[in-house]
């Protein structure tokens, strides 16, 4: 599903943020991406969300090499991705409900079962209920706090039942309760077949929800398997 080969990324010809990164992931896989500030976590996730192209190397998603993909195939790939950017990027004038509706209206993945299509209102309400946002449903996104906006961004990504969920520090502005509610939703999506790439600083999450882990150091991605007794620390 995800194949990164010798992927490097630098901005304006400066030092490489990512250097010869190799990564292979299949459907339903889960990967934490951890590393210090400026280690390149967000850059890696932007590549996976098709927001940016690599400086060198190739990124393949769902069997398509993104450097040579047609515009229609790229659209289909993007419709299969749920992306939670670090800066959330909600549309401030639209309500919470409309921000989520927009996401699902622009397409969903094949994992989005036919029976739930056309039942968006109920699904959105359920999602908002679980994330403690039902009372804010009709509020404009600009009126939300940082934590609330982050949860809406997650709801917006999960509502389309993505084949690939790319989440950049989705719990960064949450308290403990919401952190685990969010992780619960992400794990459910993962169990339903979504591949998950999650960047986080939160060691507690990594320790309690044990999954494969990638550590970014000096632009290199070192993969560890938490099941093998490794610590996944940086």
């Amino acid at each position: 599903m995800i194949s990164l080969k010798q992927v490097s990324k630098s901005y304006f010809g400066q030092t490489r943020v990512l250097d010869q990164v190799q990564l292979e992931m299949g459907a339903g896989d889960f990967l934490y991406v951890i590393g210090g500030s400026g280690a390149g976590k967000s850059s890696l996730l932007r590549l996976l969300a098709t927001e940016e192209a690599p400086t060198d190397g190739s990124v393949s998603l769902f069997g398509y090499n993104l450097s040579s993909v047609s515009p229609s195939a790229l659209r289909a790939i993007r419709q299969s991705i749920g992306y939670v950017p670090q800066d959330v990027r909600l549309i401030p004038d639209l309500s919470v409900y409309d921000n989520i509706l927009l996401s699902i209206s622009l397409g969903g993945s094949r994992l989005l079962a036919k029976q739930v299509r056309g039942n968006e209102r109920t699904r959105i309400n359920e999602m908002l209920e679980r994330l403690g946002l039902i009372a804010k449903k009709d509020k404009p996104a600009s009126a939300l706090s940082g934590g609330e906006a982050q949860r809406v961004a997650l709801a917006r990504a999960l509502i389309r039942a993505p084949e690939l969920l790319v989440a950049d520090e989705p719990t960064g502005a949450q308290d403990r309760d919401y952190t685990f509610a969010i992780m619960d939703l992400i794990l459910k999506a993962n169990l339903a077949g979504s591949a998950v790439v999650l960047a986080t600083h939160d060691r507690e999450i990594v320790r309690r929800v044990r999954k494969r882990c990638g550590i970014l150091r000096g632009g290199k991605l070192e993969l560890e398997d938490m099941g093998g007794g490794l610590t996944c620390t940086y």
């Binding site: 940016e52 659209r75 993007r78 419709q79 004038d93």
Partner: protein, 294 residues
């Protein structure tokens, strides 16, 4: 519903730009339509001036009263549908003169019985006449000579043609200004919506999905402009048209301005607005994603 909300975002983010552009669209649309009416309405005036002529048929001095009547009846029968036919006797001719040349008319009246030999009798035929009319009148028995005033309005026709041409050019210019203004607004709106379009594109929106909010934004501005223009057309258009027609007797032949055409202004406003929204192409203006994008 979110599409409509997206298309109304520019009204929230820059309400004055949208409002002033709507008013400008209304004014330009009304002026362009009014000039178009002028251009269109002048056609029958020019046509009339081009084809209207006055034929003066001088009668033979020996023609008696019966012949006079016969000539008038023949002309009326042949050209009556198109023409005004009038028998002008010396007395009537002097009546016509009295207003402008009172001394001359008095001298002619003093001629007494010799008046009929000095002042000719003639039949005046005026109106939009076929080209063959002059030849026909000349050939009538009892007509000594006949002349036509064809081309007497050439200079006026030239002036009206110039006015028509300028009105057409101004209509075109105003139309261009209207479309340019709307496209410029569309591009500004696409820039204002850059965040939303960029995100939508990243979520897999196609070109059409990105265009719909822009199309609706343009359509809303065009609709408001069209409604404003149509209100002015209904309330002041006829008054302005009558004012122009009253400036010269010739202009009374201009085609009337129809208040019912106001609906066309609304339709044109909507059409121009929607097309300019599409032409603003948000896929190029507002949806650039990241550095070194795919």
């Amino acid at each position: 519903m979110y599409v409509l909300k997206l298309s109304l975002r520019p009204w929230r983010r820059s309400p004055y730009s949208q409002a002033f552009t709507s008013i400008a669209v209304g004014v330009l649309l009304f002026l362009a339509s009014f000039l178009f009416w002028m251009q269109w309405g002048l056609a029958p005036v020019i046509d009339r001036l081009q084809h209207e002529q006055v034929i003066t048929a001088y009668l033979d001095p020996s023609a008696d009263a019966a012949t006079e009547s016969q000539i008038v009846d023949t002309i009326r029968t042949e050209l009556g549908a198109h023409a005004e036919v009038e028998m002008v006797k010396p007395e009537k001719f002097i009546e016509h003169l009295k207003g402008d040349y009172p001394d001359l008319s008095r001298e002619l009246e003093d001629l007494g019985p010799e008046l009929s030999t000095v002042v000719p009798r003639y039949v005046s035929v005026s109106g939009i006449l076929p080209d063959s009319s002059l030849g026909y009148v000349r050939a009538l028995q009892g007509v000594q000579a006949a002349e036509s005033s064809t081309d007497r309005f050439q200079s006026v026709i030239g002036a009206f043609r110039a006015l028509k041409w300028v009105a057409g050019l101004l209509t075109l210019g105003l139309g261009l200004a209207l479309v340019t203004g709307l496209i410029h607004l569309g591009r500004t709106n696409a820039y204002l919506q850059q965040d939303a379009f960029a995100w939508m594109k990243l979520m897999g929106a196609g070109r059409n999905e990105l265009r719909v909010p822009s199309l609706l934004s343009g359509l809303i501005v065009g609709l408001i402009g069209g409604v404003l223009a149509s209100l002015v057309w209904i309330s002041a258009g006829e008054w302005m048209a009558n004012h122009i027609r009253a400036l010269s007797p010739v202009l009374r032949y201009m085609t009337g301005l129809q208040p019912a055409h106001a609906s066309f202004l609304v339709a044109f406003g909507v059409l121009f607005g929607a097309l300019s929204g599409v032409a603003a192409t948000p896929s190029r203006n507002g949806a650039r994603i990241g550095r070194n994008r795919f």
